[in-house]
């Protein structure tokens, strides 16, 4: 998943769970059935899992642009000046 996809996944997860909780509570309260509330919410959790957990393609619409490996050779890592520092300390 890319960064935009992760943000989308988190938002979808929160909105879906809250929406299903509200619908489940309202349905259970109005129909007078506690079991109805629990079943609707359980279904909502399963649906949210299917939508947000697997790495779907629509989560990867802004893929990260990694540098080409040949670029890394053109800009070598800076070397630490270890040998220059050690000599004064030994004295």
């Amino acid at each position: 998943m890319d960064w935009q996809g992760q943000k989308l996944a988190e938002q979808l997860m929160q909105i879906l769970l809250l929406a299903f909780a509200v619908v489940a509570f309202a349905t259970g309260y109005i129909s007078g059935s506690f079991q109805m509330m629990v079943l609707i919410y359980a279904g909502g959790v399963v649906l949210t899992t299917l939508v947000t957990v697997p790495n779907w393609p629509f989560f990867n619409r802004h893929p990260l642009k990694w540098l080409d490996p040949s670029e890394a050779d053109k800009h070598p890592k800076p070397q630490e000046a270890v040998s220059a520092k050690k000599k004064p300390a030994k004295k």
Binding site: Q6, M13, L17, L18, A21, G28, F34, M37, Y41
Partner: protein, 167 residues
Amino acid sequence: MHSLGFRVNALLTLGVTVLALMCVMASLSDNLSVPSPSANVQVLNFNWFQKQSEGNEEVSLTFKISADLQSMFTWNTKQVFVFLAAEYETPKNSLNQVSLWDGIIPSKEHAKFSIHTTNKYRFVDQGSNLRGKEFNLTMHWHVMPKTGKMFADKIVMTGYRMPKEYR
């Protein structure tokens, strides 16, 4: 949200927290309904009334209990535990409570009932104070919810009197 495990963990944690909030709201919604129960007990007969060898009196009675507890049931009620206690005063104890009968009401349909029975549990006094004694029959109930706090209440019915002599 960078890996599968992270997303599963976030989903489960949020899911359980929201479920706990729903249960709290369900429990609070019970306060919206006002119960109006009614009960009546008729003592049909004192079957026998004797003093045991240890010096304690025992009485057996047959009574008819009719009650309507349907308004106690909400969507969040699992069952109602109801029991009938005889209450009276003696010189030794300011309050004696003896449980005579109990039952579990599992649903609203069973909450309106009429029972004709002898006492399920023995009515034994501490000593011999019962001859001619006035006593109350109190119906207590405990409403057990599916989630949340259990609460208890009672109805006191007065005006019952023991026989004056052993029989």
